[in-house]
């Protein structure tokens, strides 16, 4: 019999709730109170997340975000700034001791990205892992991923781009040199793609979620059982949202 993990489909949330829920699941899973968990979610309103080590004011045009109603949040994971709009975001939380998760961090990135790649294949999108933390299709980025390990537990979250608006993205992110902004945008347009670009048609969140569910099940030889956040996770998520992710001190700390 296959091991059963929990699947959470939490729909679209604010940047602050989204990051708080990932951390709450990490903490409660580390206490052995909930099974390993895969979660799919979206972002409403659209948002920018920045890596733990990034400077918010260096990376994000705060004024543009306010004008366009885009949230911004610092992640607990490293990596770069991401504009989240038309995408499926996954997170996976699993004990470091789990036999299916490589102890080596880079190897574990590759393994978890393997689940996303199997999901993409299900949709007819061929892709490959591009170390350190990207998945590419036809040489263009279609997924970015970031992992942390805390209290002997792995949390990795990542994006699966359903559609991408590079111009909008760059109206929200700061560029090091305004003079070459146009060239930079042109370069990024060459380097980023989406499921829509590859398949030439719109795709629904639900279809992507179905495919990703299968991808994770096959990669980790598990069965995903749809479940809910526990009461404790919900309470903890509220606390993290209120005391950390929605707070200036956290988001501006670097």
């Amino acid at each position: 019999m296959k091991e059963q993990w929990r699947l959470l489909q939490t729909g679209s949330g604010t940047a602050f709730t989204n990051m708080a829920v990932d951390q709450a699941v990490l903490v409660v899973n580390s206490q052995g109170k909930v099974p390993p968990t895969v979660r799919f979610y979206g972002w409403a309103p659209p948002a920018i997340s920045i890596g733990y080590f990034q400077s918010l004011v260096d990376e994000v045009d705060i004024g543009a975000c306010e004008r366009l109603g885009v949230n911004y949040v610092r992640r607990i994971t490293g990596g770069g700034a991401v504009f989240h709009e038309n995408e499926l975001t996954y997170s996976i939380v699993v004990p470091e001791s789990h036999p299916e998760v490589p102890k080596n961090i880079l190897k574990s990135y590759a393994r978890i990205c393997g689940a996303v790649m199997k999901g993409l294949r299900q949709l007819g999108v061929e892709s490959e892992y591009a170390p350190i933390n990207d998945i590419i299709s036809n040489g263009q980025k279609i997924s970015g991923n970031a992992q942390t390990r805390k209290v002997e537990t792995v949390l990795q979250h990542g994006t699966v781009l359903m559609d991408v608006d590079v111009d909008k993205m760059f109206s929200l992110l700061k560029v090091p040199n305004e003079k070459i902004k146009d060239k930079l945008i042109a370069d990024v347009k060459q380097r980023v793609t989406s499921i829509r670009n590859i398949l030439g048609k719109e795709i629904r969140f639900k279809e992507v979620a179905e495919a990703m569910k299968m991808g994770f099940e096959r990669e980790f030889r598990i069965e995903l059982i749809e479940g809910k956040l526990s009461k404790e996770e919900m309470a903890l998520a509220k606390k993290f949202e209120k005391e950390c992710f929605s707070i200036k001190d956290w988001n501006y700390r670097r």
Binding site: F53, A81, I132, R149, P176
Partner: protein
């Protein structure tokens, strides 16, 4: 005075460093290490910043200090390493 550098670590990530530099004594007074790299545990970067205060701005000294902090606190970098960090810091020098 405050000085900054942006350095793409070879085969790694983009490192952005800002330093409060005491030019007279060639010493780092304060440092902020930012960028899109990964470090485990994440909190180690704040520790690294603290430990680098009052370090002489000199290649061997910097690399030695950084390497010993990495070893002592079991820090794992991805997309960054002691050489890259040293280089980024030195590039702040006016």
């Amino acid at each position: 005075m405050r000085f900054q550098s942006t350095y793409k670590v070879p085969q790694g990530k983009l490192l952005k460093i800002s330093i409060e530099f005491d030019e007279k004594n060639n010493v780092i007074r304060d440092i902020r290490i930012t960028g899109d790299f990964f470090a485990y545990p994440e909190e180690a970067i704040e520790l690294m910043e603290k430990k680098l205060r009052n370090t002489v701005m000199e290649k061997e000294r910097l690399q030695e200090t950084i390497s010993s902090i990495i070893t002592q606190y079991h820090i794992q970098f991805i997309g960054l390493n002691a050489e890259g960090l040293t280089q980024g810091i030195l590039m702040c020098k006016p």
